[in-house]
Symmetry: C2
Subunit: 379 residues, 2 copies
């Protein structure tokens, strides 16, 4: 397996790292936040706007694309990049998480899961072979192994058998990815997913078994499924030591800006989260001083930007008063501009984190950031 | 009254004219289509995108802005231009049409109408004085006189008394506009609105009385209120001869691309219509060959643009198959791109009309355009 990940520098006071991940559609500087493009679009945004925001890599959801419009159609279009007009790197999940959380399950076996589409009720089947086939059809740069993600809390017995299934499926995914041609040129990277719930020995065992199979990167799964924040940290801390330092580490579905910085300090390189785009649609604004709701009366006659000092398109051109009006009037432009700002805040935070790691000042940056972020939230 | 409108050329075979309207925020080349920005935003679009589309002037709805967020707030923001970030010309309607069609009416008098906001039930009052005050607070470049717009069909007696009220209100608007300071520098133009329903003598009388008062431009109102297309043409044809040739003529709420071209041939200079933006949200695409629905199965695997040969942003970057997917997935990006295309189609049609008038080929252009447009629609 060729080396796709290069470590540029490591922080001396924390486990934070600056890295560079080479993909078929370009280089990703890590640590990185990946905006989520569930249905072949990062909600409200054009690919040009994502580029302008400095997004390096986006995430596509295999389950959603499988049920609509279908991965065959996307393959006919020349792959997901061409279909949606994004020529940068794309990571696709395996669909496993959504099958277990969104679909109506029919039958689970060692080969995978038979389920009904939540869109039209069609009966579909997804297992390691099918998940890799779908991701090959999508032509993503980074594919995820098909896993079973236990909920929280989860008893030891379930966590153990789920882990065994996950490792077995991961091995099959590894076999499948080497045998399938991708819709796009360049090798598709494959990441394994460490499960094991809250049990340190199970996390270690899963990590060791996956590393023995050998993947281009490793994800920490089974987090952001309802557990308290401290529990998430614990799971990351118990898993990272068993992951190879020369492979990228991806914490799935995380999180808030302070959470990401904390996890970077624990050695995580990649993040994805629907928060900045999803809550924008409820009028929640992310800033360096925490979040606030645009619908609040105090924004009514506030002719300042969404965030003082922010250089995003929304903040350079529009006021809180205007955004509040658009929010209450249910105007699409409001969703666009708030999404724009929130994504900028996330991407800019990660950009600052990369610079701080390179400058050897990451822990100071993180502490100051978290302090300011929570000071305002508690007001 | 200074001369704001300049006739550049007149067609020899039709009554079409090329003109230039000077406003406080720049020049408008006529004939022109004005995208509708009801709630201080042309739905789905940023002002930058409108500029990129070549929009010269947009329309704001006084009634909608009055009930939310309130014209006082917009005045505090420095006027509608600053509030919404559009520095080109804005025409505002008087609110009369929406008061009579959207609000719950309480009391009608010679001074105006007491009504309840359709948003929060607040009791408001709008008459000629208030409508001019609101439009001054918005700081629009072109204000419309407050009128009463009869429905169709409308009996002669009602049309007659409605006309008398409209003329009386127009006179009061003329008085009010000269006495009120505008929120923006530069003189606010004021257009009168000709009513009179389907009755030629009433249309003539209304036009003559308004011209005697003297306005910067004249609108033909009471059209696009449910009457058959031929009836609309008849009303325009019976009204235009009584309007001064050296003033711009505005046909309110019209229409489809062939309708606009027909009305240009009858001497109309300005149009506004919600059609291109509204139907985009239902997935209806305007093209030179008529309209079609993106949701149709035949678009499923169509990897061509929304319209072959179109140079709009949506057509340069995305396929019908992708737009159809976004439509069925209820994705905001789909609304944006279809709105973009439809506005481009409208604005480009008017641009071609202006060029054809200047070149003396307008009638040929119009006939060819209408022929091709309807040929496809009938397929």
């Amino acid at each position: 397996m060729d080396r796709s990940f290069q470590l540029i520098s490591s922080d001396t006071r924390t486990a934070a790292r600056r890295g560079r991940l080479q993909t078929a559609h370009g280089v990703v500087e890590t640590p990185v936040f990946m905006p989520v493009g569930t249905q072949a679009t990062v909600k409200c945004m054009t690919p040009d706007e994502l580029r302008e925001l400095g997004a390096q890599v986006i995430l596509g959801n295999t389950y959603h694309l499988l049920v609509r419009p279908g991965t065959e159609l996307i393959a006919k279009a020349g792959g997901l990049h061409k279909f949606m007009g994004w020529d940068g790197p794309i990571l696709t999940d395996s669909g496993g998480y959504q099958v277990f959380s969104l679909a109506k399950l029919r039958k689970i076996s060692e080969d995978g899961v038979e389920f009904q589409s939540h869109v039209d009720g069609a009966t579909l089947f997804l297992g390691p072979r099918e998940a890799m086939g779908a991701q090959a059809a999508l032509g993503s740069d980074i594919a995820m192994a098909f896993d079973e993600c236990p909920h929280w809390p989860c008893d030891r017995e379930y966590a153990c058998s789920s882990l065994e299934l996950t490792v077995q499926w991961a091995a099959r995914c590894k076999e499948a990815v080497s045998s399938q041609p991708s819709a796009v040129p360049g090798r598709q990277l494959l990441f394994g997913i460490v499960q094991g719930s809250v049990y340190p020995d199970l996390r270690e065992r899963c990590a060791r078994e996956l590393v023995a199979i050998g993947f281009d990167g490793y994800a920490i799964g089974g987090v952001s499924v309802g557990e308290p924040p401290a529990e998430m940290t614990r799971q990351v801390v118990m898993t990272v030591p068993f992951l190879p330092p020369d492979r990228p580490r991806y914490l799935m579905g995380v999180g808030t800006p302070p959470q990401m910085l904390e996890m970077i300090a624990h050695g995580v390189d990649l993040f994805d989260c629907v928060l900045p785009t999803r809550v924008a649609r409820n009028g929640t604004i992310f800033t360096a001083r925490g979040t606030y709701a645009i619908k609040n009366a105090r924004c009514r006659e506030d002719f300042g930007p969404l965030e003082e000092g922010c250089e995003c398109y929304a903040c350079r051109h529009f006021t809180r008063a205007y955004l509040r009006h658009l929010f209450w009037a249910n105007e699409v432009l409001g969703l666009r501009l708030m999404t724009w700002h929130n994504l900028h805040m996330y991407l800019n935070t990660l950009k600052r984190a990369r610079a701080a790691i390179a400058a050897g000042t990451f822990e100071d940056f993180r502490k100051e950031f978290v302090g300011r972020y929570h000071a305002e939230e508690e007001r």
